[in-house]
């Protein structure tokens, strides 16, 4: 009973508008899908308790506005995130293309301790639709190129892979939390390969 605090995992969902962020969140938390969602303004979050490796954790899932212009608002919400979920629409190639910038933006704004190993999860949503335009292979390739980000093809409408994806999200977030705690015991670590990191990030932190 040393510490009574519960594990809270903060998860941020990002992605272009209309890719189904709100739907995914609600499908996972409330097991419901409706086509009545409006465009998210500001930010909202839902919480859900999940069991990860025999531990009960609370996931606080933040749903954000999709238009990139509103991201200045999101900064306040990014802080302290344990995992970032990037969503794209498999029927809209542009939403896939912008994943890169979403990822970069998040890393800049949230400035996690270890950007290279910060847990991301990519969700290709709307696989229930027939007019698919981004192949699983292409998405998979991109994810592999980005430090092997887990990739799931989901359908918020038909609850395909949603549970599985969020389990992974929770697990990775938990790992991140744990790691963060270990870091807390040894603050101000000096990373010897800091330069390499900088290069690998290929301009994540460009001077702007």
């Amino acid at each position: 009973m040393a510490s009574r605090k519960k594990v809270l995992l903060k998860v941020i969902i990002l992605g272009d508008s209309g890719v189904g962020k709100t739907s995914l969140m609600n499908q996972f938390v409330n097991k419901k899908f409706t086509n009545q969602y409006k465009a998210t303004i500001g930010a909202d979050f839902l919480t859900k308790e999940v069991i990860v490796d025999d531990r009960i954790v609370t996931m606080q899932i933040w749903d954000t506005a999709g238009q990139e212009r509103f991201q200045s608002l999101g900064v306040a919400f990014y802080r302290g995130a344990d995992c970032c979920v990037l969503v794209f629409d498999v029927t809209a190639p542009n939403t896939f293309k912008s994943l890169e910038s979403w990822r970069d933006e998040f890393l800049i704004q949230a400035s996690p301790r270890d950007p290279d190993n910060f847990p991301f999860v990519i969700l290709g949503n709307k696989v229930d639709l027939e007019n698919r335009a981004v192949s699983a292979k292409r998405a998979q390739q991109w994810c592999q190129s980005k430090n092997d980000i887990p990739y799931f093809e989901t359908s918020a409408k038909e609850a395909v892979n949603v549970e599985l994806a969020f389990q992974t999200i929770a697990r990775n977030a938990l790992a991140q939390e744990t790691e963060a705690e270990l870091y807390n015991e040894f603050p101000d670590q000096i990373k010897l390969n800091a330069n390499d990191n900088g290069r690998n990030r290929d301009g994540d932190n460009c001077a702007c």
Binding site: S3, L8, A39, I41, F45, R69, L129, T178
Partner: protein, 1078 residues
Amino acid sequence: MAAEGAPATRSASGVERRPSAPRPPLNKRGSGSLLSQPASQSRYLWIRIALFEKQLAKIIEHLVNNANRYYERDALVADPDYGGILSSLLVGPCALEYSKAKAPACFWSDPPADELVQRHRMSAGTTTPPSVRRPILNFRRSLNASSDDTGSSNTATGNATGSSAKDYVESLHQNSRATLLYGKNNVRVQPKDVEEPMPGYLSLHQTAAGLIIKWTPNQLMNGYAEREGLDKSFRCHLVHASACQNKCILYSMTEICTVYRRRCAGPLCVDCVYWAMSLQVCAWEVVYVHVHRSQASDALILVGQDGVQRPPIQFPKGGHLLSFLSNFETGLLPHGQLDPPLWSQRGSGKVFGRGKTRRRPMPSLCESGETEEVDWEEAAGDYVFRIVNNAIADREAMRHSLLERAIQSPPRTPRRPLASTSTTSSDSSTMSVDYPHSVGFNIQPPLIPAQLPPVEVEQAASIELVCSTMRRQIISRAFYGWLAYCRHLSTVRTHLSGLVHPHIVPRDGAEAGLTEEIWRSMMDDEGVVTDKNEVYRLVYYGGIQHDIRREVWPYLLGYYEFGSTAEQRSSQDSACRRQYETTMSEWLCVEAIVRQRDREATAASIARLTEAAGKSKPTDVVESGEVFEDDCSVISDNPPIVSPEPCEKEQLKPENKPVLSRAPSIDEVDNIELDSEEKETDESKVNGETETGDSKDHVDIDSLTDIDDDEVYIKSVVENPDMRRESIAEIKRLAEGIVQKGDGRKLLCSVDSANMILNGNDFKSSIDENEKNPPQQHTSVIITNPSVDLAASGSPASGGTTANVSPSRSPLGVVREESQSAGASFDTLEPSIDARPENRSNCVSPASSNGGVYSNELVENFALNLHRIEKDVLRCDRNYPFFTDENLDKLRNIMCTYVWEHLDMGYMQGMCDLAAPLLVMMHEEAVAHALFARLMERAKDNFPSGQAMDAHFADMRSLIQILDCELYELMHAHGDYTHFYFCYRWFLLDFKRELLYQDVFSAWELIWAARYVASEHMVLFIALALLETYRDVILANTMDFTDIIKFFNEMAERHDASAVLSLARDLVLQVQTLIENK
């Protein structure tokens, strides 16, 4: 329950882990313990999960039933009785919902907003209105009322009696302020006008102010029962006290103080009840102590400095008087003494100074006093002691200059500084600082005498000194506090004065709002409304009757001018409509380009996909029309990708080559598809559509050749193609709906064939128009989509006339039709390709205000916006019946038109929400657009590109700080709060998402009218009102930043809007009052 299961069997030990008990797995893993998660804990986890899943009882029951397989004989579960009891006891806990069970430490998993509000309603039966809870707002009132307060405390003395009487009796015992030196019961005193001496309790107290002798009748000591009597006596005291000039100062002091002061004055009240009889004398007021000894009793008389005698205090026999006197003398030390001393050092023991007639020494006593007591007891006689203060010299050295006068002029009644202050302040002569009286007085201990006897002592002086210093400190602190507060308030005023209008517009009779009756009465024969201030006032206080909102809103938003005639307004409307349609025709061109590109992009990606899948779908397409059909419907499944079909593409190609940069492979794919599409459409074309198309053409051309006049043209259009289009659009919409659901492929074809005619038809007519008057058409010249041409040519013509519904809707409709007509119009379009080159050269001419060919950036920019708009429009309030496809199209047009006019700003999420209520109210696109543009003049700053949001947050902060400091403290404690992000959506959308439509209307009217009536920032006050409505919930749950976001998101559209809005008005008034009260 836990105890029940405690007898240690395996399962029982698990049962102990009730959810209420700390749950090990919930613990935040400590750095080490995480990794070495005790195996035992995870071993018992199933019990928790079983409990969560409500299966535990069943599991245990099963175990009990099969105990012989799993348990030893002596296990609890195996016991035939206890096992059954155990499982049945678990049924109850298993019925509970544990997934919601929260540890108190986890703030983030608070119950849903509903529950919080419910809880609050239950727990807070007696909520005080917000204004009462805000001391700061009432500050001025309380400042002004300080004199009233003292007055009221005077009049309300009766109420205070009970408690003060109790205080008084309690003060007879030892307490923090007074040390009890001596106490004796049944000491008799014969008060004035009482025939028999009464028994009472005599006590001697050492207080900061000196020695005090109290005598209280036994009747008071025994529970002070006679209330009426008490009240009466108190009243009498007051009357008495006010009669004495010196004593009327301390009205505001507590009751007991008054009693006390009256006592000091000496004379007793005439109608004495017990309170009046009680005696309280300060030792320093007494000059002489007379002792009269007789056989019956010993009497002690205190003589004050004014020579007035107190009623004799009669001690019972038995050395009590002596004991009192000795205690009295001790109490006087170190600064005072009895003269002659009671005990004098004479030989072996202390000597009781023998009193002479005047200064007669009293019979001496031995130390113990007992032996000679008898003599003393028996010796009758009178003794007099003088009370001396032997430390005057010392004190003089210490004395403050302030007090010097008092000492050096003994004849004058020396006053204690406190008394002097109170006197002067009541005279208001010397003290210039008019500090609140209560501050000065209430801190006075009630037992401090206000008047000093001529004989003063060192102790009193030093205490005086301390007291006066403290008093001055308190006063100065109070003053500086007040000063700082005033400064703060004035700062606040300067900040807030910008938020509200200084002039308070009265509310009289405006509660009903702007009803139709009033509105009609305000309008004169020509439809002129001039009294705009009255309109604003009525709307502000009471809203608008729903039926006339459509008429009034344009005024409120400044679209119509007050004072304009009906005629002016209608011409304004038609001008606006023309303008709107012109703008629309502009962006519709670009939209066509965008659609085509989308189509190509989609085709490319699909091709890539199919290629990747290893299938050569294009060949399939070429081979069979069936497959193509499938393909086509797949594309149109996704609305944003629904795009102009190849027919346009064909035409666009030569034109757009410089603009489009495509990979050749994609081109190929497209071409293949195009070919197939052409084939397909050619085939369908053969189905006799050409004839009908021709005949239609004929009609149109006929009508067109007849007229240069708009109206006739319109007639023909309305009569023939438009009506048809109407019905076709109907079918198409139906089909589209089905297609969007993904199962209407067959239907699509039939619609297509219908559209073909129309398109060809319209196109013909528009070409004709083009030829007739090219300059008028220059905007649409570059347009590659024939349907757009139609729109351009048709809409100006229909402007201001009856047929305005169709032009607004039809262009879009046609675009869609075209998108699905799969090149049906291809054939008929042939002439247009001939016409193109000319047109193109035309558009390059300087006459084109749009600069002819649109730059690539512009097209891309608009494409981006277009896609966003479409996504959001589709999602906008689709649960509202109003938003049918038709009305969504209107909304989309409004959005596109506005964005086209403000491409630098672009579309931002939320604009749809702002435009939707306007469209719902106005129905007509053009006017709704005009109002939206006006609304955006203010609202655009709220979007991320503007600065207004931060300003709103800052203002909210100040307002909360002033109006609700308690809430502010809470917010301040959670640093994040200062960002006020939970209001973000409120401000961005003017509460559109927080309230239901009907309430949004009221809220918006309020905001618009408030601008002219009370505040240009009404949104702030509505936000504040929302916050205040739930302040108790927020405070009770000490919600933090995230909690509050969640709370309000959950509460959206469930607020009591009318209450919130009226609270908002009240808040404005409060701030106005605050600022007015400089």
